[in-house]
């Protein structure tokens, strides 16, 4: 069992998703860490297998078949460390997003203060808030008790009070919560995370210690009224999630042993990587990573002073899909479809797909529906996550997506986009980036795996990121402007390294591209018309260096927020045209 990944050369990383399990090998090639290959297999958390270790072994087995080298021994155990004959690996890290959504009750004092922090904390993992207990709750204590019992939570997140501040109110709130825990059968009592006024930590220990096998105390998420610090509590919550999964899913314990405890929730690992990148690259704009798969939609954003992590199981494309209509309408989903599909067919799709979360689109119609659903789910996730972005960040307009560089996107749903253009258009529609940004597709879902490895080996993630393991789709220019359809809003001139120039005229409502191969660089001169703003100010242009990608430089003149025609026939025609323009179809 490796004790330190720093000393190891080869690193195996396994991601256990709701639908698929991936095994990815990183190794040193010419003195630098490189992504070598990945093996994939269906996840096996669900019946009849009920053991995530099976899926992990199959994925590793598929990887070793690709590599032509043994990673598992004859008994199906991981060979560690790497052997002189080339078999085995030096270290393993694991990320996991599989498992039923965690049911959480949050407790805090004020709606806009500690309860808001409790919500943000709980939303940083695969949890759904099923009950909220706060000071302004007018229900009787027994109603609160009965509600908690009825909800059968897996997790209690308790916040409230500033450090050294008043403690009476929070103690009063804890009485019904403690009673409810006591009244639940001992094997159903929730894990408890206390992240409130540190002064009452001992009393919380006294109250909940005898009631739960999993009581965790972390530094206060609101040490003062003006300060919020979620990171220590998020770290604690990540470890709690793994503990909960160990009880729920067979095989987690095995992977924990194999990895020497280097096992993290996938979303937390992604968030860690984004924080790491924001610190390493000291960004002026934010760094955005999105992941949409069967278990959840995850939005992780890194800014200069703060990072945010939001996990939305309700916008996942798996078993929770039938509940998507609690957050949106059929019409809002159908607006993204290039095909004329009835609302009945769409409703049936949502319910039927929730029965078979791992199923993929085999027909063109199914793909059109699936991508329309993905767009709306990611759109909703982004709109929700924006509420938690800091205020003092770079934006063009307050109510729009802030400025990001780059945007990294992964997850099963984006892997399902068969061409990079399909994936890019999906991201442009749902995230609606503004200004100039690079869009990178994480086709092998490496980002969380690098995040899992980052705390142990901070060289590996940087070297792998810079090695071309991610697919740069291109540089996207998205002006913010208000104009009539067809109005010229931007002129662009791309000067290649060999001096050759290409020009583009962007009209409102259209998409345009200029070719720039992956690995190539150029200078892009932008002239903004009609007050269009790409980050230089309204109507102001400039010249910037740009790097190439699968689609080169993409100009999105469709307006922000995206302005889709109300007329369905016209809208579908336009969507088909946009698909054609950027190579999706």
């Amino acid at each position: 069992m490796p004790s330190s990944l720093v000393d190891g050369n080869s690193l195996l990383a396994v991601d256990v998703g709701a639908a698929n399990t991936r095994a990815v090998l990183f190794d040193v090639v010419e003195s630098e860490y490189r992504f070598i290959a990945s093996g994939i297999a269906p996840s096996t958390a669900e019946a009849p297998f009920k053991d995530i270790g099976e899926g992990a072994r199959q994925a590793i087995g598929n990887l070793q078949a690709l590599l032509g080298r043994s990673l598992l021994d004859a008994h199906g155990n991981l060979i560690t460390p790497g052997q002189p004959n080339g078999s085995g690996v030096d270290a393993l890290v694991v990320t996991i997003s599989a498992g039923a959504t965690i049911r959480a009750v949050i407790v805090g004092l004020l709606k806009d203060v500690s309860l808001e922090s409790a919500r943000r904390l709980t939303e940083s993992t695969y949890a759904r808030i099923v009950e909220t207990i706060g000071m302004n709750d007018l229900r009787k204590p027994e109603q609160q008790i009965d509600s908690i019992i009825r909800m059968r939570p897996d997790l209690l997140v308790i916040t409230g009070g500033t450090d050294g501040g008043a403690s009476r109110s929070i103690k009063k709130l804890l009485e019904p919560v403690g009673l409810a825990s006591f009244l639940l059968p001992s094997e159903k009592r929730p894990a408890v995370l206390f992240a409130g006024n540190e002064k009452i930590g001992d009393e919380v220990r006294d109250m909940f210690g005898p009631l739960t096998a999993s009581l965790h105390l972390s530094p206060n998420v609101r040490p003062s009224l003006e300060t919020e610090d979620l990171e220590p509590a998020q770290r604690e919550l990540a470890h709690m999630l793994i503990s909960i999964r160990k009880h729920q899913l067979k095989g987690v314990e095995l992977l924990d042993q194999w990895s020497g405890g280097h096992i993290l929730p996938t979303a937390y690992a992604t968030g860690r990587m984004v924080r790491f990148l924001a610190k390493v690259y000291g960004v002026k704009k934010g760094i955005l990573a999105v992941d949409i798969g069967a278990s959840a939609a995850t939005i992780s954003a890194g800014f200069k002073d703060k990072s945010t992590l939001n996990v939305y199981p309700q916008f996942g494309l798996g078993e929770n899909l039938a509940g998507l209509l609690n957050y949106t309408s059929l019409e809002d989903i159908m607006r993204w479809s290039p095909l004329d599909i009835s609302s009945g067919v769409l409703r049936d799709y949502l319910y039927q797909k929730s029965l078979y979360p791992a199923a993929i689109a085999a027909t063109r119609e199914d793909l059109a529906i699936s991508q329309a659903v993905t767009r709306q789910a990611l759109y909703l996730a982004m709109q929700s996550a924006r509420r938690d972005f800091p205020r003092n960040i770079a934006t063009i307009k307050q109510n729009l997506t802030p400025l990001f560089e780059p945007i990294l996107a992964g997850g099963g749903a984006l892997s399902d986009a068969s061409r990079p253009g399909q994936g890019l258009l999906l991201l442009l529609d749902s995230l609606q980036p503004v200004g100039v940004t690079t869009v990178i597709l994480d086709q092998n879902n490496l980002l969380p795996l690098l995040g899992a490895a980052a705390s142990q080996n901070n060289i590996l993630p940087v070297q792998v990121l810079e090695s071309g393991a991610f697919l740069s789709v291109g540089t996207v220019v998205s002006p913010v402007v208000s104009a009539k359809y067809g109005t010229l809003i931007l002129r662009g001139k791309l000067t290649y390294e060999n001096g050759v120039e290409s020009r583009v005229e962007l009209k409102y409502g259209s998409l345009e591209t200029l070719p720039l191969q992956n690995g190539e660089a150029g200078k892009l001169s932008i002239q903004c018309l009609h007050g269009a703003d790409v980050g230089f100010g309204p109507g102001r242009g400039g010249t910037i260096p740009v790097s190439g990608g699968a689609l080169g430089v993409v100009f999105d003149g469709r307006g922000r927020p995206l302005d889709l025609p109300a007329d369905a026939v016209r809208r579908r025609e336009l969507i088909k045209k946009w698909n054609w323009t950027i190579g999706g179809e």
């Binding site: 669900e46 019946a47 009849p48 094997e187 039927q352 029965l355 791992a358 199923a359 068969s418």
Partner: protein, 351 residues
Amino acid sequence: MQAPVNHIVGLTSIVRERLLPVSGTVVVRLNQKVSPNDVIAEVNWPREHVLLDVARILQVSPAAADRLIKIKVDDRVPANTEVAVGKGLFPRSVRTPREGRVAVVGGGQILLEIGDPKMELRAGLPGTVVEIVPNRGAIIQTAGALVQGVWGNGRIDTGSLINIAEGPDGVLAASRLDVSLRGSILLAGMVKDADVLKAAAELPVRGLILSSLYPSLIPLAREMRYPIMVTEGFGSLPMNSAAYKLLSTNAKRDVTVNAEVYDRYSGARPEAVILLPTFSDPPAPHEAEEFSPGLQVRMRRPPAMGMIGSIVSLPRGMTTLPSGLRAPAAEVKLENGETVIAPLINLEVVG
């Protein structure tokens, strides 16, 4: 690649582990014969409480209130029982608003459990208890025909199976339900109207086995007191031919519908069991199979969703699908003679 199996079997051993979610009391014994509705284990799990804040009502400190409280934990108290009396010339008293059991006393408060807290676990199928799981439940075995579904409303019942479907793609209309069907379990195609579920409740029937249900009817279906099992899913989906043939050829036999809520993690699924006489235990079906040519499969997604076919070949590596996606796939010959390419992940084995 391993595939999940949807059981549609004419004669098989059926072994089911039936467990309480928490520790309780098992009330059956080894080798006992059980009917589907027999209680095999039970547990007290109170859901409703009343909190009496004695200290506040009597306007005394919590410690003083504790001394005034006349009842103790586990006492059963009728409604309007005096549980604490204050002091003074005109002492106030505290009475129970409802009948209940004392769950907690302390801090100047009394917490009462209200109502029947008993949670009962039923056998779910007719059979014999072959193993007791201490404090949790039992393993029950039987033999017969088995058809599994994809959605259930959580109810269990047994009755004579009557086929009123005009075929696998029949649609059930409320007008089709008459008094002759009272007390039966109906094999009945698709349901699109709330009136059908309500009319079935009014008869009442003992259960419905449906091919599909409109999603908008799910909340109503959950409220129905009789079991509803759906074999294919939601919308307008005909019943797969294997399930329809097996069920329709067993019409007039007794069928048990355990419309258990589908739990993808535990593997609990709604299922219909038809007891059949056997001389020895038939083999139990496999829970997973390796995909191979000749295997009978069911299409879980388009194209041909719900249709049964057999695997003709398994192309090596990844196959490009009509959608443009690439995935491990199989060439499947459908029962209508058509051959399609389907990703393996969209297939389940029937057997």
